[in-house]
């Protein structure tokens, strides 16, 4: 009688199915289980009583594919223990957990999240922006506390139409944000590593100049060595006292200590944040502010995005094991 073990499938089938190593379950597995990967033999490292290096030495020497969530750093040390690795499939929109130069050096392909999440993340960015400008969360708290009466006026918000919105990073997510905000009458501009052809929004070659000409900055780029703390005190001061920052990228793109100071000293008007430098820790000064909106890193946490990601992951693995092109290969590292 075959019993399930930490190798993920019944023993008598294990030789037929291509192996996929999973060091830690990605959110899609936590929410939806692993039925969508029934065509593969999953090597679930976290279920084994063995320490990771031993597990990998015993079970992962011929493994070619790895499925990984965003929070698990894939470093040189781990790669050394998976010598046959040819593909990593990540369920995260960001790639900052992957030592990209090392992967390139070893010729390991990377399948990214593609644009599976882009709409939901863009929706979060716009939702946070409207919330900050129009004080939606603050007003909701006000009503629920029983503070609404006709004598005292709830503080006025700020109009979204005609605001100059600087998008930092015009990838798939940035473009979805731009498309949405144009419909609200915002004036969209952007900065990016390279100017995008066929894009009509004004391009700025650096974020400081973009900030100086913007009322709002929306962080839509990935976290790299170049973008770490890119949104620093100078950028925030350039954005100005009426300025609003929205971050749906990675916490470390913004110098969080400086952000808090700017908000405390009213050098910035407000912020909408889905990501932080040390999640789930949020600077305690922000917890008391009415002009910030806080979100616990959940821009992609909808059933629609996650079920689409299950299909996307399956599609990439199927493509790889049938020697077909990946659905969402990462190029130009």
């Amino acid at each position: 009688m075959a019993t399930p073990n930490h190798l993920g499938n019944h023993d008598h089938r294990s030789k037929e199915l291509p192996q996929v190593l999973v060091l830690e379950p990605p959110p899609i597995m936590k929410f939806y289980g692993d039925q969508f990967l029934n065509d593969f033999q999953l090597l679930k490292a976290w279920e084994s009583p063995l320490p990771l290096d031993q597990f990998l030495s015993i079970h992962a020497q011929s493994v070619k594919a790895l499925l990984t969530p965003g929070r698990y750093p894939l470093t040189r040390n781990i790669l050394q223990l998976i010598p046959s690795l040819q593909l990593v499939v990540t369920t995260s929109a960001g790639l900052n957990h992957i030592d990209l130069p090392e992967f390139q050096r070893r010729g390991i392909a990377i399948a990214s999240a593609g644009d599976v999440y882009s709409e939901d993340v863009a929706d979060m960015a716009v939702g946070l922006l409207i919330n900050v400008l129009r004080k939606i969360s603050a007003a909701d708290r006000y009503v629920r506390k029983g503070l609404w009466d006709t004598k005292a006026e709830f503080p006025l918000g700020s109009k979204l139409c005609s605001k100059r919105v600087g998008i930092v990073g015009l990838g798939s997510i940035g473009q979805e944000v731009a498309k949405r905000l144009q419909a609200f009458g915002c004036r969209v501009m952007y900065t990016s590593r390279n100017k995008k052809p066929f894009v009509s929004y004004p391009y700025y070659s650096n974020v400081l100049e973009l900030a100086a000409d913007s009322d709002v900055l929306i962080i839509c780029c990935g976290l790299t060595e170049q973008t770490r703390h890119m949104i620093n005190k100078d950028v925030m001061l350039a954005l100005g006292k009426e300025g609003v920052v929205i971050n749906i990228g990675r916490g470390a793109i913004i110098d969080e200590k400086e952000l808090v100071q700017c908000l405390v000293q009213r050098e910035l008007a407000g912020a909408g944040l889905d990501v932080f430098e040390n999640e789930p820790h949020v600077p305690r000064e922000l917890l008391a502010m009415d002009n910030v909106v806080l979100s616990p890193h959940r821009a992609v946490h909808t059933p629609e995005s996650l079920t689409a990601m299950c299909e996307h992951v399956k599609g990439n693995l199927e493509a790889f094991f049938s020697n077909k092109p990946l659905l969402s290969p990462v190029m130009n590292i």
Partner: protein
């Protein structure tokens, strides 16, 4: 014009009050210890009333002011003004259309995103420290959901235009089908509610549209449906709304208006699928100034015998 008496029933905007005080003799009814007495004392000199969405000019007030010539509303909705009586007595009425269209439409979309993505609830989650113990749950995607609009006027069209940028299919109900639009028309609100996931109230409040969103409509919208009210509280049968939400027959609601403002049914305070705003549809610094300037402009035009800027009557 400093001697012309203008009555303002409740406070609404300090810039507007200051400017009215500069140009006219502004009478602030809310400061009077005895309101009916105050009205009697000034009845012969009040020539204008400045109202808003909360207080306008009903039949009783109009009858009490024999020299009333114009009611200028600091709002686009004029359900608090007895238009028939104004017409009967030749009293002009103005409102503030267009200048607030974008703000109200922005707020409608803001409410949709806040309800569907639980932005207020997850903000509370972070502030209470719960994130340290675990992730917030899944919430539903907004992009691509079908949006049904009751009333395809200026505000309804602005909501549609924004929702389209999120790839939302748009459908609507209106008194008559519009020939110049590509959006799908439904001849009744119940049919509209049956065929959309987010229902937005964007029509004026009249006798016909009172309780236009009733129990049947809410049941049709359903346990996954979301109601967004940026019109007037009485558009929605409020007790029915409360029970529909509590019983799970309606999936969620984003409300900017209520039947008896500033009262909000307290049963709603404990619900996480509801966002409650204190009637802030046009409440931005920029728009309130534009609205105030329209009120002032209309009054000045009237009292200089020039054409009104935004007359309704």
């Amino acid at each position: 014009m400093e001697s012309i008496c203008v009555l303002m029933p409740i406070p609404m905007n300090s810039y507007l009050e200051q400017e009215l005080q500069k140009r006219f003799n502004l009478l602030k009814l809310w400061t009077a210890p005895q309101k009916p007495q105050f009205i009697k004392e000034h009845a012969d000199s009040i020539r204008a009333v400045v109202g808003n969405s909360a207080a306008g000019a009903d039949a009783e007030l109009i009858e009490a002011l024999p020299r009333l010539e114009i009611v200028s509303s600091f709002s686009v909705g004029v359900d608090k003004i007895n238009l028939a009586k104004c017409r009967e007595k030749g009293i002009r009425v103005t409102n503030t259309p267009d200048v607030l269209t974008e703000d109200v439409a922005d707020l409608a979309i803001g409410l949709m995103l806040a309800v569907l993505r639980r932005l207020c609830e997850s903000d509370r989650y972070v502030r209470s420290g719960k994130w340290k113990r675990g992730d917030y749950k899944l919430t539903t995607k907004f992009s691509g959901k079908t949006v049904g609009i009751i009333g395809l006027g200026r505000i309804g069209m602005a909501v549609a235009k924004r929702a389209e940028a999120f790839n939302c299919p748009i459908c609507y109900y209106s008194r008559t089908e519009k020939s110049d639009t590509k959006y799908k028309y439904y001849p009744s609100v119940v049919e509209l509610a049956s065929n959309c996931q987010i229902l937005v109230v964007a029509c004026p409040l009249t006798e016909e549209t009172r309780h236009i969103v009733n129990r049947e409509v809410m049941n049709a919208l359903g346990p996954k449906g979301v109601l967004i009210n940026i019109g007037r509280g009485p558009h929605v049968d409020e007790p029915e709304l409360v029970s529909a939400l509590i019983e799970g027959r309606l999936g969620g609601a984003g409300l900017d208006v209520y039947e008896h403002e500033p009262e909000v049914p307290e049963e709603l305070f404990g619900l996480e699928n509801v966002v409650l705003l204190p009637h802030v549809g046009s409440a931005t610094v920029e728009t309130r100034k534009e609205m105030a300037d329209l009120v002032l402009g209309n009054l000045e035009a009237h009292f200089s015998n020039k054409p009104l800027l935004t007359p309704l009557v």
